[in-house]
Every structure is written in C-alpha cells, then in structure tokens.
C-alpha cells in the first residue's frame, strides 16, 4: 500500500527528569518545535491525536496552543499510545477527511517502578497483594524462559545495556548520558533475576510531537518528509506469554509483536531484511534481545552472535535503538513510542548527529510492547 501520511515536522522535549516543568508544558514545547520545523501554525492544524498516561488530558493543550475548535482525540493505549495516535492520524488522512494535523505524546511519571491496580486489568486484588503484579518480574520470567529455550547465555544482557548507555551518551535528548561498562551493569543490584538495575529502563518524562500531512503534499512543507509506509497495532492471542498473566495456556502462541510487525511490513510491501535502522521496545535488555527476533529482524537464537559482534551498534549492519532506547531515555508511556519514530525520522533525514547511522538509511522500523499484551509497529521510509 502506498503511504498516505508523511511526517513533515518533528519536535521533542528532552527526556529524563525536568523539575518544575509539567508534562503538559513539555508537550507544548514539542508541539511548537514540530510546527516550526514544518513551517506552519497551530491554526493550520485540522485535527489532533494525543496521548498521555499520567500528565493530563492531551486535548486540554489547546488552551496553551490555541482555541481553534479543531477535533482533538485523546488516545489512551498504554505503551502503544503513540503508535495508536499515529494510526488514528493515518486513518484520518487516508480517508480523505483531513490533510494536515498534529500527533503528540507526553508524560511525567513519579519515580520508581510502575504500580498498577489489578482491578484495571480484571485481576483480583490478591495478585497485587501477594507481590505478583510487577512488569519488572514479567520481563525476568520471560527472558529466563527465552534464554533457556534458545540456549543463550546471560552475558549478552549486559552488552545490550552497555550499548544503550553508549548511544544515550551521543544523544543530547537522552536522559542517561553516561557510559556504563558491561561489568558494572552485570554487577549492579539484581532487580528480577537475571536482570540487574542497570538493565532496566525507568519511568520518566518527555514529549514528542509531529506535524503530519497527506503524503502527496509533503513537499509543500518540508524537503525531507518521512513516510509512514506501515503501521499496525495488535493485541494478544490465546497462548501467548504476556505481562500480568496469572496463568498461561500450555499451547504456546506467538506474541502480539510478531503479528504487529508482520502486518506493518506487509502494509509497507517491505521485509525485515530491508530495514536500515530499528528501534525496538527495550523495557530492559532482555526485551531488546527477544524483540529483535519477534519483529523478524533476526532469527530466534541469532541475537547472541549479532550483539556480541557489534552488529546492533550504530555502525553495525543492524543498528538497534540508536538513540539509547528506553534504557537511556526512560519510559514516559505516552511519549515513548513517538520517541522511536522521532529518532527514526532524524536518521532518515540524516540529522541524527553523533548517533547518525552511516550509509544514508532509507527504511526505519519501530516497535513498542506493553501491558496487557499489545504491540504497535511502524515502517518508515523516505
């Protein structure tokens, strides 16, 4: 399918902890930057899609940006909020309803691991009371099983986090900008065996915004548009292994990541082998390892060789999480997926500076995964 939507303006508020600046203010900062990048005004926006988990209703940003009566739709879809907002914008443009609009995601979370109310997931209070309702725990359980199934050692988990901090150090918008060696990462306090503190991302703050338009008019606004060639969201199947599962089916099924990635590539008419730069959900380093294969970027079990040989570094054959990923940027839920798209847009425009992938990348891929077993993927081209 031909891309309907082009990204013609990009804006970001640096990720991390910005004391004294609300999540909404960070969103306004990102929106203004995206509008300026596209050379348009907020009054030109025909629609808006926005998402935030805990920093306020996105549609209230209009009180700061301009009360223009535009239709503004709030999106709340966990870690897939950004991807869902982009899919909504794509539908609005593909249908011919609108030509030019705004997509924004932002958040500002308190410190420490997310604590989730079991009732919001249809699970009894016992699950939280007895200490089972933790995303950190799920990732420990999933990578333990995965390493066992595919015969992969735990050493590679520290190598993945080391790369994240190295890339973060090159990215002025990242939160963690100090390199940390693999030995120190492996020796850090154990959060959920086999994953240590420095292998996990933390809830944080940040905002990303895009001005998007009909692909056939992209050059009216920008010399180097990035096209949304594929975008797909999927929920879980019976038998997949997902976060917050008191039980699993004995008959295993593929994860929603597999379904979402396949659908996004099919829409784009491309394959994982065409990808020049990829951003995948790295809630912790084991997630990056598993998601590399679930998205189709490599075979299951091939990750250890790819990672230890440097293939997933910025100058490698399959650069992954070139901006430092969630591990170096933190995870403001409403903004996290759009950060991946922002980084991909920078890479495809050749504007990523110190973390620019060499070789004039043309195809980018993004992937998020989150509770209760959802995944959103995009294929971006220029």
């Amino acid at each position: 399918m031909t891309a309907a939507l082009a990204i013609v303006g990009i804006g970001i508020h640096p990720f991390g902890r910005t004391e004294g600046v609300s999540g909404r203010a960070q969103a306004v900062h990102a929106v203004r930057a995206a509008l300026a990048d596209a050379g348009v005004r907020f009054g030109d926006m025909q629609f808006g899609f926005g998402g935030s988990w805990s920093a306020g209703d996105p549609d209230t940003l209009v009180s700061e940006l301009g009360l223009t009566s535009l239709p503004f739709i709030n999106v709340a879809n966990g870690c897939a909020t950004g991807g869902s907002a982009l899919i909504g914008a794509d539908a609005a443009i593909r249908s011919g309803t609108h030509d030019l609009g705004l997509v924004v995601g932002f958040d500002k979370h308190p410190r420490g691991a997310f604590n989730t109310d079991p009732a919001s997931h249809g699970i009894g209070a016992w699950y939280g009371e007895t200490g089972l309702m933790l995303t950190t725990q799920f990732f420990g359980l999933k990578i333990q099983r995965y390493l066992h199934t595919h015969g992969i050692g735990t050493e590679v988990l520290a190598t993945i986090a080391e790369k994240a901090f190295r890339n973060g150090a090159l990215n002025p918008n990242a939160w963690r900008r100090k390199e940390i060696g693999a030995d120190e990462i492996a020796a850090a306090p154990m959060i959920s065996h086999p994953l240590t503190q420095y292998m996990y991302c933390s809830p944080g703050e940040g905002a990303v915004a895009f001005v998007v338009c009909r692909a056939d008019r992209a050059h009216d606004y920008c010399e180097n548009p990035v096209h949304l060639s594929g975008a797909a969201l999927r929920s879980r199947r019976y038998g997949s292994f997902e976060v917050f599962s008191p039980w699993l089916a004995v008959d295993a099924a593929q994860s929603p990541t597999v379904d979402a990635a396949a659908a996004a590539f099919a829409q784009a008419g491309l394959t994982p082998a065409d990808v020049d730069v990829a951003q995948v959900q790295d809630t912790e380093s084991g997630a990056e390892l598993m998601h590399m294969a679930e998205t189709g970027l490599c075979e299951h079990g091939a990750q250890e060789e790819l990672i230890s040989s440097g293939a997933t570094t910025i100058t490698g054959s399959l650069p992954v999480n070139t901006d430092g990923g969630c591990i170096a940027n933190g995870e403001p839920i409403g903004a996290s997926g759009l950060r991946q798209v922002y980084e991909t847009a920078l890479q495809l425009r050749g504007e990523a500076g110190d973390h620019q992938v060499p070789g004039d990348p043309r195809v980018g891929f993004t992937h998020v995964y989150g509770a209760p077993g959802i995944s959103a993927c995009t294929v971006l081209t220029r």
Binding site: E129, G131, L132, W247, A249
Partner: protein
C-alpha cells in the same frame, strides 16, 4: 491444618473448598483451562465454564527472584526478603504463576518437579497469618 476453621487465605475463591488445591475453570466446549475461574472462554469465546481443581504437582516452566519490595498494593511484611516467582506447568491443564518457596536462583531449574503448598505471606491486624499458594521444589529440603 486439622480441626478448627481453615486459616485465612488471601482470597478464598482461588481455592477448592478444602483449601488443598487451586480452583480454576474448564471450558465445556473446547476444554481450555483458566485460573482463577472465569465465565468466558479465552480460546473458543464460549461462555460455559465449569469449576475444576488444578493439579497440585507440575514442573517449573520459568522463574525469577523479586529483588525489591513492591509498592502498594503489595501487602507483604515491611521487612523485605527477596522471594521467588515462577510459572509451573500443570500437565494437561495450564501454566500457573505463583510465588516459590525457594529464593536462590542457583537452586531453581526449568523443568524441575514442583508441588503446591500454602504459605503465610503476611499477618493480619489480629496477628493471624494470611495464607497464599506457592510452589516448592519436590525432594528438596
């Protein structure tokens, strides 16, 4: 656990009436199992589910060790000791998530036999233990 009222559990609906096994559901149409009980079948979308006692023995499918004290709604003791968490495959039924009585990863191995037991995980305001289910490696002290 002989004589007198059964000790308090974290949620009686999770257990059989005698408190010795987990209580799940089995779909009348396709045979899929769930835990806890639920009214709709996640496999065939049917709505005829019957109560079923889950097996008390199985094999360890995966595990981790919870290394920090969770935030609320966790209600374990203030003084935190890392605890094991795992998935245990109950053959022909399902793979259940549970606390483990073992918190040393070097003493846990995927595939090892496990057995369900009831353990106290906190004390209530009256000083009485509140029990939940856990799995323990079979044949180990």
């Amino acid at each position: 656990m002989t004589g007198g009222p059964l000790p308090r559990t974290v949620d009686d609906s999770l257990f059989t009436a005698d408190g010795t096994a987990l209580l799940g559901s089995r779909c009348d149409d396709c045979g899929a199992h769930t835990f806890p009980r639920q009214g709709g079948c996640p496999r065939c979308t049917g709505s005829s589910m019957a109560d079923v006692a889950l097996a008390r023995e199985g094999t360890l499918w995966s595990f981790t060790i919870q290394g920090f004290r969770p935030k609320t709604p966790y209600q374990g003791p203030d003084e935190f000791e890392p605890y094991g968490v795992g998935y245990v495959e109950l053959p022909g039924q399902l793979i259940v998530e549970a606390r483990l009585t073992e918190n040393d990863p070097d003493r846990l191995e995927i595939g090892m036999p496990m057995r369900m037991e009831m353990i106290p995980f906190r004390t209530d305001d009256a000083g009485e233990p509140v029990l939940t289910f856990a799995f323990t490696p079979v044949g180990r002290s």
